[in-house]
Amino acid sequence: MTLLITRRTILRMGVCAGGFAVGCLFTASGREQTASTSSRMNAWVVIGVDDVITVRVSHTEMGQCIHTLAVNLVAEELEVDPAKLQVEVAPVAPEYETPGFHAMLTGGSTSAITSFDPLRLAGASARMMLVAAAAKRWHCAVQNCEVQDGRIRNRSTGAVLSYGAVAEAAAKLTPPREVKLKPASQWRILGRPMRRLEGRDKVRGAARFGIDVQVPGMLIGSVLHCPVAGGRLRHVGADSAMAMPGVVKVVPLDDAVIVVAKSFWAVSKAIDALSVDWDEGPGASIDSAGISQSLDKALATDGIVVTEHGDVAPTEVHTRVALRLEVPLLAHASFEPPTAAVSIGEHDADVWAPTQVQTMAREVVAEVLGMTPEQVRIHTTLCGGSFGRKLRLDYLRQAAIAAKAVNRPVKLIWSRNEDIQHDYYRPPAATMIEVGLNSNGLPISWTQKLAVPDLRPHLEVSKVSIRRADTIDSQAVEGAAPFPYQIGHHRLTWHNAPLAVRLGWWRSVGHSFNAWFVEHAMDVIARKAAQDPVAFRLGLLKDRPRHQAVLRTLGPLWPEAPKTGRFRGTAVHECYGSVVAQSVEISIEEGVPTVHRVACAVDCGMALDPDGVRAQMEGGIIFGLTAALFGEITVQNGRTQQNNLDSYRLLALGEAPEVTVAIVNSGAVVGGAGEAGVPPIAPAVCNAVLAATGQPVTRLPIRVATNTKSIGT
């Protein structure tokens, strides 16, 4: 494959290419620098005279193994052993912006997709420049040079030069205008399991997350928010808190209070001692029953047509199936809570954070500190789970305010209470689906109304990534359209259901509920038509070879019939460029479903890191199961009723099913894996519940009617 270097990639390479660079490694205090002699080949590849090769990574490592993949993408084309490469987290700079976002951003399952070409190009381009420099030194043609494992060999003389020996000369050359990338058939590294870059540090407790940052002289901050979203602080009585040992400052904000002290324990006790008067505002009237009613109210409006094709004569409809489904608010509950450390110097500032949005983070901190963005350095730490939470900037703004208020470095850590109670929740949603079947049991009409709050007014990141002018919130309807099934008449309308609750992106966003809506409804109508649900789907997916392939791949993973008392359910869904099918086997005891096994088939085009893809599927399944079985944030008098991991519980080890993952390499364009494992699991489980009880699940989390007798074990 030959890729012409486009204007965009020239910019990416050209900004840093050429010249002898002195790498700066920031130590914990931020402004001390240690110099090392190295040559920057391009934005991504830095080669030291000591042959140490560093790959700069621009994506946040949140467990999706993108640092590992980045290094392996470069290594494949640079012809080096990936185990010898080291990683350096990129600063905020235009060349590290994620294509399509005009900012550094890790999200939307785009890490692998957006790294695939640029990092291979960077590796190949650097290799070509190194070869050219060696050829120049040997006064021979580049065709006379071959590369292997970080060394260049002169075919005529047998002379060998290491990359480090020619890196300085190579970096002064003009980057190639045309780069030939290896075809997949010649890959030695990609497509095979990869050694996890931070694997060793993570099992030794040596991996450094945002919450682990230690800056000399640092204080600890934490925050207490108004219990009602949109409420305001009237007055905070801080005398008792200030009198407590170690407490340095109480900082009132519009809607919250920050306390800064010498330790997290001192902060926690001081927060408990605050006497706060909140103006709760109109949000105090919001409750979960009202949210359901507002979804119904929205469903009763005309809505906006998202897609419609075909027509159907009412006389052709023999049977009608109608279904109303609803999902609640959900919290991210990433284990590392929102946290960031800020250290302010005379003319600049350093920020350490597990953020997914470095460019925006820099702007927000700069605004608080009255600096230009260029004066603020963002050091992206490892991220202890995010699932969309750290796409937001609230905690970064608070950390900057706290550091400014005490004129000392501050690490701000949210308590778990605040995290669960003041998350940016996955929006609630409801749907009305009416399907018309003809006399042969074939669906001929699918009319779906979808009530989901418009997420766009809730997103600060929107200015970089969302087209506000669009009539339809694409993330509200994603997964319900495009509609994969061939049904003569299909109509989808979106009904905005505005909600004054903090809302945000949650792993797989709109797909997280739309896959459940569509795929659970498919089983309900297959049952009505007295057909096997998988065969029923295959009959309607004749022009969807990828859907068919993943569904057919599940079959051999379940060669035997389910035992008595066990029930199976299957679902398939396409998102982020990947198609995933999942089947589950469950039993129900006293109204509680137990998921015993899950089989998953994933087509993400090409699995660049097959073990990483498997891990993401397994993780997505467990994450989605937690939501399907337990996940629910409820609101009363404007207050979130859950406040920790006892009331917002996660799946436990003993509740985890066996998971088998099969990878289907269709050769389609590389798709994302980080979110695609989540959407199919809820409908697969509900379809198994339907098979067991004959009753659809109309609301998540799954509550099987208690009059359902014990079914199997």
Partner: protein, 148 residues
Amino acid sequence: MKLSVNGIVHDIESTPDTPLLWVLREELGLTGTKYGCGIGVCGVCTVHLDGTATPCCTLPVGQTEGAKVTTIEGLSGNETLHPVQQAWLDAGVSQCGYCQPAMIMATVALLGENPHPTEEAFNAGLNVHCRCGTYPRIIRALRALASR
């Protein structure tokens, strides 16, 4: 007070009511032990107290005087890995990795009491949660360890 952590006795300045977790993390700089829930339900702060797996986010440091605390940092040397850590690497368990020090500490304690535990014993003995959903691989690693 004095506190024994990973074989070293420290003079502790934190007040006796401070949870052991925050003494480890903030006073001693041992950040491998993580904050999860702060109410002792998620297990992400699990350390060993005299060899027993114990969540330490609600355990006042004053109650640990005389006990031997072991954290993930004390489990193996710089160059070597504990067999449980190696099993974790072999099974490719870690995703974000935040909860894994606790998972590993809980597993080491479990295997110390029962080198060949049943699946039921894993499930009952490993009270650590993972949000990334690494359980299928943890089970694989545990099976490999239990069958040795």
